[in-house]
Symmetry: C2
Subunit: 343 residues, 2 copies
DNA sequence: ATGAAAGCGCTAACAC
DNA sequence: GTGTTAGCGCTTTCAT
């Protein structure tokens, strides 16, 4: 065991409470400079670290935030986790990671019930059961939803989902495409509707018709993306461009395109929402709309800390404009001999 | 705050210690069935959860294990994390995730110094500084190295790196290739040498010459894989097959091959170490050697728990045979009109 | 400016 | 079989 406060106090020749004041509290506490010095020196010599159990027991808080995501090893979450981690660290909190599939399970129950975490950032996944979420909300730790919302729950941060889908759609429109499909997420997932509405809005703005069969809502995984493209290619009237609601699904779309002999971008332009290193390594490299994931994480932490302090929190949308990253999976429409002036 | 032990005791009409005995200890403690019943009922009614700070303070342990990896969102780690998590949960431990880039930093120091974790599973990365690792080992939490070793340190689990590289190499040899290159990891990384030796052993067994320029040691990222292939393709004598030490690097190799006009597998066969969903989505889909990542995680936890109990632990290698997963990035050598009988 | 002491929730001797 | 009690390390009134 490392040195305790009483070790430090003994070495500095002061009382435990004096040592505590100097070592833990805001520098506001007035104490004779010489005493402060002795205490700080003793602490340094002994390599003193406050025992967190003692602290947590006394203060009834753990200084830990839990970030719960559907898939820890999804590269799309990389920036999100970095944002959360940095914001947490700056506020002297630790970030604990969990999977949303565990939400109904024992592990998350332990985290909260045993007082191991002070608050929770929750990103639900395709498989998260609503009743588990409601149970979670019934416990005593405040929850902030990340890129998802729960009716009647105060505290969420969302991405500019509609705006991002619109950026992607406009990119294809500007390349001269009019037959534009959407390979979207499951209808049950919060972001799906938003992204679809952004797509519809951009199409409407351009006065281009949306055809029902060109919308698929199969999910955000690569395999589901493949299925989406297969379904589109079974159609008599096929699109020349497709907006894919998620990068991983787009990777599947590309793989399936190759498998069934669809040339990208010559025959089909593909643009995806989200960006990550994997997008640069596909064949062809994927044109993407980058999402403000880092800000999403930071803002989530700020909201959670507000809630912890008792401040009223609302539902905020990150409003930085999603950025188009043009790579090689999109090209001017082949069935037109002109393109818009923008391109 | 939720119910405490004394709430439960009061409601059951027993002493706190009776409640503690019944609720926390092995069922061995003898107590009148009726009393046990009353206590358990009271606990259930009150939704009692042991406060972990009180428990940790008393027992001087936290029941938390930290798993530290270079990159949380690397899909290659998915199975590893699952293995660690499951084994930890089964032993009533919680898994806390950290990044190895933080090893020298404040965060990991807090985890250990403040007694927040009982032990550590550490997978070092390209950027982990040896002096930071040594400092970590100097602290009071036991450490088990995951697929890496530290000289003189008891406790590590490693993958069958050499065996996997040999499996990959033999696959190419059996397809008739003799001009086989290795796109490997950084020389400073533990696994690099092992994988290289497996490659060399397989080549030697087949009495096929290894040419120096065909070995690159640039690293395990996609970008480093791309650079590896570029370097190989600058050669006058080019290989017809390449073993890539890491799946992510192989994804880069494929991307670069396409970029510079190398046909895979017709002109170049590519086989990668490790497997993940990303390997099924490349063009062409990657032939891989699957590694026992799940077992790696489980075994790491078991070793760590042994060490926690004071048992002597050694350095174990997971010995399940790495499994070849043939997809479409490898094909018979084009410069031979015969193949071995095996294929 | 500094110290004494209580108590956060829990477990483990020890007494009965 | 059950209760009493001390104490883990810390913060925080309250005295001095």
């Amino acid at each position: 065991m490392s040195a305790t406060l009483s070790d430090v106090a003994a070495r500095a020749g002061v009382s435990i409470s004096a040592a505590s004041r100097v070592l833990s509290r805001a520098p506001s506490t007035r104490v004779r400079p010489e005493t402060r010095d002795r205490i700080e020196t003793a602490a340094r010599d002994l390599g003193y670290r406050p025992n967190f159990a003692g602290r947590a027991l006394k203060l009834a808080r753990s200084d830990v935030l839990a970030m719960i995501v559907p898939d820890l090893t999804n590269p799309l979450n990389s920036e999100l986790l970095r944002g959360v981690d940095e914001a947490a660290t700056q506020n002297d909190y630790l970030m604990l990671l969990g999977r949303s599939e565990d939400v109904g399970g024992a592990m998350i129950g332990r985290l909260i019930g045993e007082g191991r975490v002070d608050g929770i950032l929750l990103q639900t996944g395709d498989d998260t059961r609503p009743e588990d979420v409601r149970e979670l909300l019934g416990q005593r730790a405040p929850v902030i939803f990340i890129n998802s919302v729960e009716a009647g729950h105060a505290g969420s941060v969302t991405l500019p989902n509609a705006a991002a889908a619109a950026v992607a759609t406009r990119h294809l429109l500007q390349l001269g495409h009019t037959k534009i499909a959407l390979v979207g997420g499951l209808p049950s997932v919060f972001t799906s509707a938003d992204r679809e509405s952004g797509y519809r809005a951009a199409m409407a703005d351009a006065e281009v018709a949306v055809r029902g069969p060109w919308l698929t809502r199969l999910g955000y995984t690569a395999e589901q993306g493949r299925r989406g493209l297969r379904r589109l290619w079974r159609l008599k009237r096929r699109p020349t461009g497709v907006v894919v609601g998620n990068l991983n699904a787009a990777i599947g779309v590309l793989a399936e395109a190759r498998a069934i002999g669809v040339a990208v971008p010559d025959e089909l332009s593909v643009v995806a929402l989200h960006d990550a290193w994997t997008a640069e390594q596909t064949a062809p490299a994927l044109t993407c709309v980058r999402m403000p994931m880092y800000d999403l994480g930071r803002t989530g932490v700020e909201l959670l800390l507000d809630k912890l302090r008792g401040t009223d929190v609302g539902n905020v949308m990150i409003n930085s404009e999603p950025e188009l990253v043009v790579r090689h999976s999109t090209a001017p429409a082949a069935d037109r001999d002109f393109v818009t002036s923008k391109e």
